[in-house]
Symmetry: C2
Subunit: 221 residues, 2 copies
DNA sequence: CGAAACTAACTCACTGGTTCGTACATTACA
DNA sequence: TGTAATGTACGAACCAGTGAGTTAGTTTCG
């Protein structure tokens, strides 16, 4: 009873199909993130959808292609979010600090994506490599960091001659680890890094870390 | 023909069993690290061993118990290695720098362990929690860091009032990420963080990062 | 216009291979 | 002789993937 067959105009079938595909992708993302590639069950995904397993094969072709489609969607969304970042108008120190905190927030908000990245690394990125969409998805963040680094050198705020990829790596590492490894870290050290009482402190810390490094304070005396 | 039955003395059977168990654990670690928990195959493990699948069930009880045994062995070895670290005789700045570099080397040398940690986090540490051995395996590293931090405050080298767990987390994050995420990072940014031409620079960087942070250079001007 | 041909979306029932785990017989040994 | 260790074969569930046909819109064309 969701729609009256007689009233359905031209493009509705197509729109239904798109909606179904989107629903499958969403459910599949959850299933893959929760159980890993091998642990995910196509039947389970089908059951949590308004469609059937047959349709998953009809639309995506197979489990692996579905998984790749999930990765493509997740990565694409992340890149889209990154493009909205604008810190160019800030002074170098504030720009880096803000970028670090935005990265922190971003990781905090996209737990499933973090897990997919972790899963993909266990498989040594074999699926990402099969995707043409993701093949050369360099990121604008690197350009941004480069520009901030140059400005900082120019102004004298930054002393360390840092590499943009290294800086991006460092910030990502901190933010990624906090979310991805929260469970084993919590089990071993009795601290939930994602708990509210630690969140704000760690968020500030990642910015200070980046700034301290770029100011050159770590070099041997 | 590996041993003469008639010449075998008392404890040899036991020693054979221990050796077989150890062999199973080693092969299983590899299999689990490569394919994840669900992706690992008990038959595959058995085939790569001088034993049969029957013996795996005889010794360990099941796939999950075998996996937990692998985790216990891996974590125990890591902790044993950590206990050999001695930087207490160094000045605070050098102690932190050395500790960071040792952590770096350690992650660099134990790729399978890194993968197991990643896998365990995907499963939200459900298996670690089932293990009594690993339940409260706090680490001596925290005490070490605490002492270094105190000494640094005392001597005036460190200005930031840092938390030992946070510092450990930061260093681990950097080292862990470089190894664990090398594949997706490489695919997206075209740089292999584990390649020789980047290794030394990043190794130095993690020490400088920690020192710069503790010296308080990241605080707002 | 209206029927027939066409096509996308969808259902149902099924299969072949895989995979964890075990029953049972057998051997080595104290 | 009794107990621990081991080999062989098998079963039952699971699970990715498919064959074959149906429904309902869309296009073509007399």
């Amino acid at each position: 009873m969701t729609s009256q067959p007689l009233a359905r105009a031209g493009g509705e079938r197509q729109r239904d199909a798109d909606r179904t595909k989107a629903e499958i992708l969403q459910v599949a993302q959850r299933e893959f993130a929760r159980h890993g590639y091998a642990g995910a069950r196509v039947d389970e995904i089908a059951e949590r959808t308004r469609t059937t397993k047959r349709m998953i094969y009809y639309y995506f072709g197979g489990k692996e292609q579905l998984y790749i489609a999930v990765l493509e969607k997740a990565y694409t969304e992340v890149r889209a979010a990154e493009r909205t970042v604008d810190v160019a108008h800030l002074a170098p120190v504030e720009a880096i600090r803000t970028l670090a905190e935005l990265t922190f927030d971003h990781h905090d908000a996209h737990r499933d994506f973090i897990k997919l990245v972790g899963i993909e690394n266990i498989h040594e990125a074999e699926h990402i490599r099969k995707s043409e969409v993701l093949a050369n998805l360099g990121t604008p963040v690197l350009d941004l960091i480069s520009r901030i680094l140059d400005a900082g050198q120019e102004s004298g705020d930054f002393v360390t001659e840092a590499d943009a990829i290294d800086v991006h790596m460092m910030i990502s590492a901190f933010c990624f680890f906090r979310v991805a490894n929260q469970h084993t870290f919590g089990a071993l050290f009795g601290r939930d890094m994602t708990a509210p009482e630690h969140r704000a402190r760690l968020r500030t810390m990642v910015g200070e870390l980046a700034v301290a490094y770029l100011r050159g304070a770590g070099a041997p005396a």
